[in-house]
Amino acid sequence: MFGKKQQNHINKRGGVHVAHNKFTAESESVRMPIPAQVVIPLRQHIGAPCTARVKVGDLVKVGQLIGDSEGFVSAPIHASVSGKVTKIGEMVMPQGLSCETVTIESDGQMEPYEGVTPPKIENRQDFLKAIRSSGLVGLGGAGFPTHVKLNPKDLDKIDYLIVNGAECEPYITSDYREMMENSRYVYNGILTAMKYLEVDKAIFGIEDNKPKAIELFTQMFQDHPGVQVMALPAYYPQGAEKVLIYKTTGRVVKEGQLPMDAGVVVMNVTSVSVMHHYIQTGMPLVEKRITVDGSAVKEPKNVIVPIGTRIGDVIEFCGGYKTPPRKLLMGGPMMGTALCDDNFPVIKNNNAILALDSEVVQTQERACMRCGRCVRACPMNLMPLNIDKYYHARNVEDLKRYSPQLCMECGCCSYVCPSKRNLTQTIKLAKGLVSQK
């Protein structure tokens, strides 16, 4: 009745104000000592998992290919230390998928692979090939292979590059450190991506709780009228892809479509920087900056870690645990995954390890009283309480009316719920139920 008259807008009052807790913002990245051993999972991206291209006993060097796949939506994986392959194993990743792993015993030399040379790029095809070889995936968290993203099916339709420097998750400062420490790479990376996407307009969105970064890049890009550095209000989830696209360009990514259908390509700021680093040096993505924080960590800081380093070793480098952690997270507190122990390895799209103690509040679900706070908080204009209700009734017909598949799992509904219902989790389950039938 009234639904059809409404225009398709984002919920302008949606989202939540979470304490930023960016304690490590001014902590300059430190490089971790070479770990004795790395365990590199061969599934670190969305798409086809890689299979091992090395055998037990092989000697490998930093940047050498160890895993690849024939799939188009996939990204190769490289050795992050030099040393000997001691095991090809299998592990269950925190998200529940299992994959092959390559264990490398480090020789402590970090000798670069001979094949690591700057790629020759003369045209767009060379560029895409180079990006694929770099193993780069979306470093904001989703891990979508970058060479696929930069190769939209209809290049003429793309008229904007959006660079995501929002970093709206609490605690995490790794993108901010990238902007401050590697601003030249970010700068050149943006210009390179614009060149090969054949766009003359780019918007660089940064939350206004990072004024230094906004000032820095506004100055750097002042001679490039096509690049607009946009200060975004600091609230969660400003950096969610669909939200960012709407806030910067006013465009709506329709259900079942990708940002490229709305004429935009969105790249995380660290991805842009790493891309340029690869073009300059030819060293693939073998290390990652990680924010280590949380009340259970003795010395919170930003650490540059070889991919595959055990999380426990990273925390050990940060002084170890101050108190026994009650929750260990891979990623931020709003969307991160809780780990059952600290033996998991760091992967490409990891940007934080949080060991929480006093922040953890265990809550019990109570009955929904229909207060509507979840509806007001949902940036996507969904009605989490109704999805929750119909999911528990297994009522697929009514579930479909409330479009659970549009949920981006930002967690705002669960965050605000006074009845402490696990709405985000239920909506994830509802997505599965709807797609089954």
Partner: protein, 311 residues
């Protein structure tokens, strides 16, 4: 890592506000009206309200025990229902009748329909309506304000009954505002109810849309009918209903547009019943009928999901 880690789905942070805190805020907002009732109608008013609140909690507890469900009394919603029910009763009502009202509210209306959030009608409101229909005499026996200072109970007519009957004298605006008039315990003191309203809105417990639309509609319609609009909105249970019952989460719409429709609809019904039906007061029935329409309001006002297709 001697202690085991907690693994839960994201998000791992939760806003501090809980159900019981929300309910506590409503109880705090009701306190000015309770205090006013104590001043205007004496100790017995407070006893009646306390009996209602306690019986509601006891009934909810017993219901949970009998049905082997987790005890939900700590969410304080039963206390809210009890206090609102108490504020809807005349001071002279026998205690046992108040207990029956609490039983209807908590057991029949709330818990038999599934408990907090599941009931389709406001429990306190239906409790009051059932009492009104069952014990019409006792439910309309209105004592004079400050009757307890006199040697015997003097009963009188409420301002709405005065208007309805067309005889008797109406209190002054100031008396109406301060609550020095006959009526249900909590409905008389406009000042106390407004303090509660400001508290609820300031604490972001309720949206002001429904109360403003409700009261505004009654004001405008009464004025169009040639009545004194100011007197109309201050008399009867309008403010008590609009502020505390038309804003009940479970039984009113979620979306702002739905809240607006609810308020206007309840306002229209109130004016219709007050002026053209047998009862002098129409707030209860106005809200109750809108409670029944709430699922439709919710359905009509569901916003299109961002990026979603046609519905």
């Amino acid at each position: 890592m001697e202690k085991k880690l907690i693994v839960t789905p994201s998000p791992h942070l939760k806003a501090p506000k809980t159900t019981s805190q929300v309910m506590l805020d409503v109880i705090i907002a009701l306190m000015p009206a309770v205090i006013a009732a104590g001043i205007i109608f004496g100790l017995r008013a407070l006893v009646l309200i306390a009996v209602c609140a306690m019986s509601c909690v006891v009934f909810e507890y017993l219901f949970c025990v009998l049905l082997k469900k987790p005890n939900t009394t700590s969410d304080l919603s039963a206390v809210v229902t009890g206090v609102i029910l108490g504020l809807n009763l005349p001071v002279t009502l026998p205690i046992w009748m108040a207990v029956i009202g609490a039983f209807i509210a908590i057991v029949v209306v709330k818990n038999l329909f599934g408990g907090l959030g599941q009931n389709f009608a406001n429990p306190a409101l239906v409790g009051r309506i059932v009492l009104m229909v069952s014990f019409a005499g006792q439910m309309t026996r209105w004592a004079e304000p400050f009757y307890y200072k006199a040697s015997e109970v003097v009963t009188t007519a409420t301002p709405l009954a005065v208007v309805s009957a067309g005889e008797g004298t109406l209190p002054s605006y100031l008396d109406m505002f301060l609550g020095v008039r006959a009526g249900s315990l909590g409905e008389t003191c406009v000042l106390a109810l407004l303090i509660g309203f400001v508290w609820l809105v300031a604490r972001r417990i309720i949206s002001p849309i429904t109360p403003i639309a409700f009261v505004g509609t009654v004001f405008v319609c009464s004025w169009l009918l040639g009545l004194d609009p100011l007197m109309s909105i201050m008399s009867g249970g309008l403010l008590l209903g609009a502020i505390f019952m038309a804003t009940d989460y479970a039984t009113t719409p979620i979306m702002p547009a739905g809240k607006l429709m609810f308020g206007i609809g309840a306002g229209l019904l109130t004016v219709l019943i007050r002026n053209f039906a047998g009862y002098p007061e129409g707030v209860s029935f106005g809200i109750l009928l809108m409670n029944i329409l709430t699922p439709y309001f919710d359905r009509w006002t569901t916003k299109k999901a961002f990026g979603g297709g046609e519905k």
